[in-house]
């Protein structure tokens, strides 16, 4: 037992100490964050200050557009829209409001040479609507305060399943898809890492030295568990990064968004913030509609179970490969195939979690780590009865024990076979053989 710990320690430390570990661990979230943040940054802010000319023939909007960071409104009078060359005066856009019929306002136009940007567009639209609404209320003799008090803002809980747990199919779809896909990536990425590790030991001929000190099975399991540790550490670092990103993120956005995010309901009168608050409410609602304890603990179970199930097979492949790296392709194919099939079943499952395909896919250990994760967010025991979850878990554990046993047999023979091309057919014969 002590030996297996030593092997786990070495496998873990040699990988974690590598510079590439740090680079990959830090760069991947930066890359994804970049994918998310950069378009928002481009859309919401530009480096130059925007000066917007307002020609208001209706006289309703004078001074009503609040300046904000980087955006300034200038109200012009006695100027004809048709002839005014706003660019020549340094304006980036021109908002023209004709004399309006307050009941049927039309003809409000924003002129600009380039794309105005989401921020400007939504700001102007919001303010114009607010002001017209206010004017109409005033005309109808309705008190703004009273209206606010009468306004209803109820969120309805959509419950599904026997015990009436909250459910939301769009959220279930997203969570199911994401966790299924992450498991797919983990199986491939860390499976390949196990395989490369075994290949390295075989090609550098250290395997025979090692096996004169430890059992082949200990060597194989030590590597598998060590690499699982690397995966878990990486996962934890990412979780920590996401949490800290939540703190850093506001720095990238304008003061308005920051206020909305931090101060919540206190800023109702500002239209932009109301939208932000609404969004936050939505997120809260979505988060509340999922049984996160169940999802996260099942995710960890299926992540580990699936990894253990496949990594032993990847180790067996690594032990079959000789110096010729082209062997790898043909030898890994029978293992990557069920993983890819699992991914495809998973994609169909998130749309139709009750189908027969989804049921069998989530029970059979070859695909269950991905497919079950796609079904679980739709509700337990609503969509996935407890017996199905239990059966799937038991089968995965049994499957991984069986796979490890078989792969161990192949591994202990393969790792000492040099200079000969080995096929799966031969390797499978080794399973029945005693050494």
């Amino acid at each position: 037992m002590n030996k297996i710990l030593l092997i786990i320690k070495r496998e873990f430390l040699t990988r974690v100490r590598k510079r590439s570990f740090l680079v990959v661990t830090l760069l991947i979230p930066v890359f994804f964050a970049g994918l998310l943040i950069i378009p928002i940054l481009i859309a919401t802010s530009s480096n130059e200050d925007k000066r917007i000319a307002v020609i208001d023939d209706s006289h309703l909007f004078l001074g009503r557009f609040p300046d904000s960071k980087g955006t300034y409104y200038k109200y012009l009078t006695n100027i004809k829209v048709d002839t005014f060359k706003y660019e020549q005066y340094g304006y980036s856009g021109l908002l023209y409001i004709p004399d309006l019929d307050i009941k049927r306002p039309s003809g409000i136009t924003y002129y600009s040479s380039g794309q105005p940007g989401i921020g400007v567009e939504s700001n102007i639209t919001k303010h114009v609507n607010d002001i017209i609404e206010e004017k109409r209320l005033e005309n109808a003799g309705i008190d703004r305060e009273k209206l606010s008090a009468a306004k209803s803002d109820i969120t309805i809980d959509f419950k599904s399943g026997a015990d009436g747990k909250k459910g939301n199919s769009a959220v279930a779809y997203g969570v199911g898809y994401a966790s299924g896909f992450i498991i797919y990536i983990i199986l491939m990425f860390f499976g390949m890492a196990v395989m490369r590790g075994v290949m390295e030991e075989k090609v550098s001929r250290i395997a025979e030295v090692m096996i004169s000190s430890v059992k082949p099975f200990q060597l194989m399991m030590g590597k598998i568990i060590g690499i699982a540790g690397v995966g878990l550490l990486q996962f934890l670092i990412w979780v920590a990064l996401i949490l800290s990103l939540k703190l850093i993120l506001p720095l990238f956005f304008s003061a308005e968004t920051l206020h909305a995010a931090t101060q919540g309901g206190g800023m109702m009168q500002n239209g932009g913030n109301a939208a932000a608050i609404e969004a936050i409410e939505k997120v809260r609602y979505v988060i509340g509609s999922i049984n996160w304890t169940l999802i996260i603990s099942c995710f960890i179970f299926y992540f580990l179970g699936g990894y253990l199930f496949y990594s032993a097979l990847f180790a067996a492949v690594g032990s079959l490969v000789n110096e010729d790296p082209t062997d790898v392709q043909s030898l890994t194919f029978p293992i990557t195939l069920p993983i890819i099939i699992g991914l495809m079943i998973m994609i169909s499952t998130v749309q139709n979690p009750d189908s027969r395909l989804a049921f069998w896919g989530s029970i059979i250990p070859f695909t269950s780590p991905m497919v079950m994760m796609a079904r679980l967010p739709y509700g337990v025991p609503g969509t996935v009865p407890y017996w199905q979850l239990a059966l799937s878990m038991v089968l995965l554990v049994v499957g991984f024990l069986g796979m490890t046993w078989m792969a161990g047999k192949i591994y202990r023979t393969g790792i000492l076979m040099y200079g000969k091309k080995i096929t799966w057919k031969e390797a499978i014969k080794w399973i029945g053989k005693k050494n």
């Binding site: 040699t14 001929r205 250290i206 025979e208 000190s213």
Partner: protein, 306 residues
């Protein structure tokens, strides 16, 4: 006392018998040579003694008890022919790791590493990666990691391949020292001159079968051809050499190689030279080299019907 007793060991592969009914004993503290051509079954035999393979049948006794890989593996140091180290690992860490896997405590292992690194003068490599070392240097590291845990049985498969003469000598000296301090050594090779120099006992295997085993001295005696070499001060004429006590195998400048006839003694040869007043400068028995015995026996096996 025997450290190892191998009884009727067999191991079959799909296509051939790798080890076919081999038995031998290795006395404690001896240097035991395992000889045979390539593919004779040496590596399979060694892998069974190191617990990597299980025999199909037969028995291995280690310290007079049935071999138990779990326990006895700790007292064995094995340097396989296919050398291997983790290339990206530092020399010191690697030796420490392999020592710990043999059951040593970290502190004890560090002390031992320091001792051996000093002794073989490789202290400056401690923090180098294995891939930065030359092949010969890697061999030294491999040797140290094989003996670091003070095994009672040391198995060396072609230990000198890839070593320059100076380092080969250094390792050879270490092997002798270990043997003197009581380590039993199995030395597998097909380089015969090393066998004669180093081994006390040998076993010769070919095609999975044992051809012969025993003490090196005894084997040389058993296979001697009764050849003698005699040096002379002046070359005698042809008539003076006529005798039934011996026949001349080879005549060189100031020396003869002769074969003793059956029923005659070495003194008969000397008497003949003395009687003819041929000055003898030296007289020496020619024993067969293990190499000759080896080639002889292997060829005999190739043509068993002659």
């Amino acid at each position: 006392m025997n450290l190892i007793e191998v009884k009727n060991l067999r191991k079959d592969y799909a296509t051939h018998k790798a080890v076919d009914d081999i038995s031998f004993v290795i006395p404690r503290g001896s240097i035991f040579g395992l000889l045979g051509p390539n593919g004779a079954g040496k590596t399979t035999l060694l892998r069974m003694i190191t617990g990597i393979f299980y025999p199909d049948s037969g028995q291995i006794l280690f310290n007079n008890q049935p071999f138990d890989p779990e326990r006895d593996i700790q007292s064995i140091g094995y340097m396989p022919e296919e050398r291997g180290l983790y290339k990206k690992m530092k020399v010191g860490e690697q030796t420490l790791y392999l020592a710990q896997l043999k059951g040593m405590r970290e502190k004890e292992a560090r002390d031992k590493i320091k001792y051996w690194f000093d002794k073989l003068d490789i202290n400056t490599w401690y923090n180098k990666k294995v891939e930065e070392l030359s092949k010969g240097m890697q061999q030294k590291v491999q040797f140290i990691s094989t003996i670091i845990h003070n095994p009672s049985l040391l198995i060396l498969d072609e230990p000198f391949s890839g070593l320059d003469p100076i380092n080969a000598n250094l390792i050879k000296q270490e092997i002798f020292d270990l043997s003197k301090s009581g380590t039993t050594i199995i030395f597998s090779t097909h380089r015969m001159e090393q066998v004669e120099e180093i081994c006390d006992r040998i076993i010769l295997v070919n095609k999975g079968k044992k051809i012969l085993d025993g003490e090196v001295k005894q084997i040389k005696q058993d296979f001697k051809q009764h050849l003698f070499r005699i040096g002379v001060g002046t070359m005698p004429n042809f008539a003076q050499m006529a005798t039934w006590h011996f026949s001349i195998i080879k005549q060189e400048d100031h020396a003869y190689t002769v074969k003793l006839s059956e029923g005659s003694t070495t003194n008969d040869i000397l008497m003949h030279f003395i009687r003819h007043e041929i000055p003898v400068t030296y007289f020496q028995e020619i024993l067969p080299s293990i190499n000759e015995v080896f080639i002889d026996k292997v060829q005999e096996m190739e043509q068993p019907l002659n």
